[in-house]
Symmetry: C2
Subunit: 107 residues, 2 copies
Amino acid sequence: MKRYGQIIKVKPEYLEKYKALHANPWPQINEKIKECKIQNYSIYYRDGFLFSYFEYVGDNFEEDMKRMAEDEWTRSWWKETDPCQEPVASAKEGEWWAGMEEVYHLD
Amino acid sequence: MKRYGQIIKVKPEYLEKYKALHANPWPQINEKIKECKIQNYSIYYRDGFLFSYFEYVGDNFEEDMKRMAEDEWTRSWWKETDPCQEPVASAKEGEWWAGMEEVYHLD
């Protein structure tokens, strides 16, 4: 299992929409996430930032993420959520959610 | 089980010290954290922010946190780590790590 922590900004005018979408996510989205071997996935908000924590239990993260990005329901979902978000200033070219560095872990 | 996401800033000049401390935490600190019913505890860093995610499996969070704060090893540890950190601007009076709002969770 590999843990991931990621950060992105949420545009203030889209915060309520983003929260409403995630309070009742489409079942197909949750199913696809699980199918792509992600579990214990949480997103937190404060001060304009979204932080995500999840655990990947597959053996080819890139392949599973590619599979997710090709899913029709997921593409429709991202059409709703992408306009709500904005990568952090330090994000690399093409990076959406930006990876954070794990500095501590205790099981 | 209750999940917590929290945020705090790390002072740039103390980042390396903070990371070094957490790369090799004192065993007494990890033991006390577990004893206070916290598990699956991760801290992530990016762009001056620290994000923590942990799971509380006890039944009295305030009491367990009070017990942790009274522990001698923990107090010594915090003497090392507190100068590295700075609460976010929106933190309440007396709030150190600031609580984030969970906007999404998938088991």
